[in-house]
């Protein structure tokens, strides 16, 4: 059994060889991917604010006690602690990256279905998430020691004397953990937008 199909071309004047108008490929509507990209951009702005806040608070953490003895004046500042120096430098790198990634995030808003910008953002976000978390964790460890001390190596809790310094460093660490949470949110957002075709 064989079948034949008759295809009749229209004799309309417009549709002849070489004269049909070219309209351009129709754009797919952005849909939920565009909304998710906008949320990514906003969370990125929030992460920039919290990292810069953390750097500013930590760099200004300084306290000199009003008494002194013959040999030394009692002062604590952020550069007495290597972990806090590491914290400031690393978070500066992280906030620089976040600022530079804003244009790529905007490209992901404008072209929600493009794969390239999102993959780039996910890979770099993972690297800088690790950097941000390690700096926050190291500083949190020192802040914990400041508050509680350790009995066996006889490390005293300096928060009892240096109250202002303690409070400033604790606030900086909390702010940096907000940045870490923001990073996780943007990685998950970009992954979901990438995975669903």
């Amino acid at each position: 059994m064989s079948t034949t199909i008759d295809v009749a071309e229209s004799s309309h004047n417009n549709v002849s060889k070489g004269k049909a108008t070219i309209v351009g490929t129709p754009k797919r509507p952005g849909g939920w991917k565009k909304g998710v990209s906008i949320m990514d951009f906003i969370v990125r702005l929030g992460a920039i604010a919290s990292t810069i806040g953390a750097i500013a608070t930590m760099a200004n953490a300084d306290q000199t006690l009003p008494f002194f003895n013959q040999f030394v004046q009692f002062e604590a500042s952020y550069d007495s602690f290597s972990a806090f120096q590491f914290f400031v430098i690393t978070l500066a790198l992280v906030s620089g990256y976040l600022v530079l990634s804003l244009p790529i995030s905007i490209v992901a808003i404008v072209r929600p279905h493009a794969v390239g910008p999102r993959i780039f953002l996910i890979i770099l976000d993972t690297i800088f998430l690790t950097l941000a978390t390690s700096s926050a964790g190291a500083a949190a460890s020192i802040v914990f020691l400041e508050h509680n001390g350790e009995q066996d190596p006889n490390w005293l809790a300096i928060c009892n004397q240096y109250g202002t310094f303690c409070m400033q460093t604790s606030e900086a660490v909390i702010s940096s953990f907000l940045a870490v949470v923001s990073f996780i949110i943007i990685i998950i957002i970009n992954t979901l937008a990438l995975g669903k075709h």
């Binding site: 059994m1 064989s2 007495s80 998430l129 690790t130 978390t133 190291a138 190596p153 995975g195």
Partner: protein
């Protein structure tokens, strides 16, 4: 102008309702299958590193050969809250990695499915943060143990407890290996999701 299309006569085997039902043809795995296999192998390596870090830290113990009338000089991992956090964190990370091995095997068998990889990326990010926070805070305390801190009068205990110091440093290095492996896992899974072919 009209055109006709001739359809080739149907064969006698393929009569309505009697054609053999073959399964959907499997697309060849290609590079995605290779990535999935490497993901599985890296996961096994990360299990070894995480459990190694937890075990090394948990057995870190040193008692000095001299003692005074009141107490004996001993350092163990539970003298330091941060080291306890590292042991618990690495145990959780090791447990998660073992439980994620089946999902990794599913990703090998079905290289083009996005759902297992998506699930793994999201959970990997969460446990990456846990591993990095534990590793970084333990590294901070190990640094203090090696160098001490002058302005807070925290003495460097590594000078007396050298074996304890070596064991804890080794555990921290192993924890950072877990962190690096996690980063590779996340990047590989997102590359496999992003590219359709």
């Amino acid at each position: 102008m009209s055109s006709t299309i001739d359809i080739v006569p149907e064969s006698s085997n393929v009569i309505k309702g009697k054609a053999p039902l073959l399964g959907a043809p499997q697309r060849p795995g290609g590079w995605k299958k290779g990535l999935a296999i490497m993901d599985f192998i890296l996961r096994l390596g990360a299990v070894a590193a995480a459990l190694g870090a937890a075990a090394t830290m948990a057995t870190a113990d040193q008692t000095l050969p001299f003692f005074t009338q009141y107490f004996q000089f001993e350092a163990s991992y539970d003298s330091f809250t941060t080291f306890t956090f590292l042991v618990i964190g690495m145990a959780l990370v090791g447990g998660y990695l073992v439980l994620s091995l089946p999902f990794s095997i599913v990703a090998i068998i079905r290289p083009h499915a996005a759902a297992p990889r998506l699930f793994l990326i999201i959970l990997d990010s969460v446990f990456l943060v846990l591993a990095t926070a534990g590793a970084a805070s333990a590294a901070s305390v190990v640094y203090l143990a090696h160098n001490g801190n002058q302005s807070s009068n925290w003495l460097a205990i590594c000078n007396q407890y050298s074996d304890f110091c070596n064991q804890t440093s080794g555990a921290v290095v192993s924890a950072f290996i877990v962190v690096v492996i996690f980063m590779f896992l996340i990047v590989m899974s997102s590359l496999a999701i992003a590219k359709k072919h």
